[in-house]
Amino acid sequence: MMNYIFAGMILFGIMVALLCGRMEAVSSALMTECGSAVELVVGLTGSICLWCGLMKVADRAGLTEKISRLLSPLTRIAFPGLDPHGPAMRAISMNISANLLGLGNAATPLGINAMKELAKLSPLQGVATNHMAMFVVLNTAALDLLPTTVGLLRLQAGSSSPFDILPAVWLASSASVVVGVTLAKLLGLGHSHERKHCHGRL
């Protein structure tokens, strides 16, 4: 899937540039965008290290287990068959909490952590499991209860009440989560690679 999207975007772009005479812009995009990807990762590296470290502290102290127990009524629906007290579920719960609080910078490293734990449960290297797909879909549907960046930009643009859109955001967010979870469940049917009885701890 990603193979076609990667090649498709570049090839279609070059074709359009050829027809519209925009080769110069495409050429400079090819030269500079790869560098901006590195800048992005370098910028992210600090927060990835910080939150992976803090997460380890919270995990060792038993704090993540408490949080994951708090969220278990929800996580159990999305991740049936996943050990509710295992390291994967704990990491997933930390990521979901960070998302709900609107801590995007913390949510990404915590999410990567969760993916690593899910990978440990997967018997097949290099293939996504149903739990992984469900988890990524949850992260692509924004769970953020208070989109502060959007509010700030609305305020700067002169909105009379920047957060009057919140109920609408929650409605649209819920719709997106429900559709995403349903699609992930339906499309993943019959191809479960998860180990069913895994109760391993860290």
Binding site: A29, A37, L118, V127, A128, V150, A157, A172
Partner: protein
């Protein structure tokens, strides 16, 4: 609201460390252990991000995105979305900074409290940069076969967009 926001991260960090100390965890040693893992993760997500961000850059710079959003205007009408937000709907899943730039333009040109401005705001608030998330998360664990992840995630985005328009229509009127 802004002020409250500044308290969240420091409080969480403080709780983590205090709780760790109370449980007799050697907090700095354990922190370093985790941070070291974080470093190797950062290196591992780099290749997929270089590929994806370059592809999106070419797509934008060539004008292919404008062409596509123009061509998809009938689809926007069919879905009940105002045609003005179509570039945002196309760019939002693939590029965080690109989506943000288009969003700013929409707020400036239509006003934040207009129908278009509100729909764009709700779209921004209720969706994420899908491709980036997929590239980072699967890149970190070397998964190439993402199976049904992308269709399900894009379906969720589409639902988010359609319901953005519906919710604004319902709560604010035209």
């Amino acid at each position: 609201m802004e002020g409250f926001n500044h308290y969240i991260v420091p409080s969480i960090v403080a709780v983590f460390l205090l709780y760790g100390l109370l449980q007799n965890v050697p907090v700095f040693d354990v922190f370093l252990e985790g941070a070291k893992e974080g470093l190797s993760t950062a290196v591992r997500i780099l290749p997929s991000l270089v590929g994806l961000i370059t592809a999106v850059g070419v797509f934008k710079a060539s004008g292919a995105l404008d062409l596509l959003s123009h061509g998809l205007k009938p689809a926007a009408q069919f879905l009940g979305l105002p045609t003005e937000v179509m570039p945002l709907a196309l760019l939002r899943p693939v590029s965080g900074s690109g989506g943000m730039a288009v969003f700013r333009d929409l707020l400036d040109s239509h006003g934040p409290d207009s129908f278009v401005g509100r729909v764009a705001s709700v779209m921004m608030g209720s969706t994420e940069t899908t491709f980036y998330t997929i590239a980072v998360y699967y890149g970190a664990i070397d998964v190439r076969k993402t199976r049904h992840t992308l269709p399900a995630a894009l379906g969720a985005d589409l639902a988010g967009f359609v319901f953005s328009s519906l919710a604004v229509l319902w709560l604010f009127g035209q």
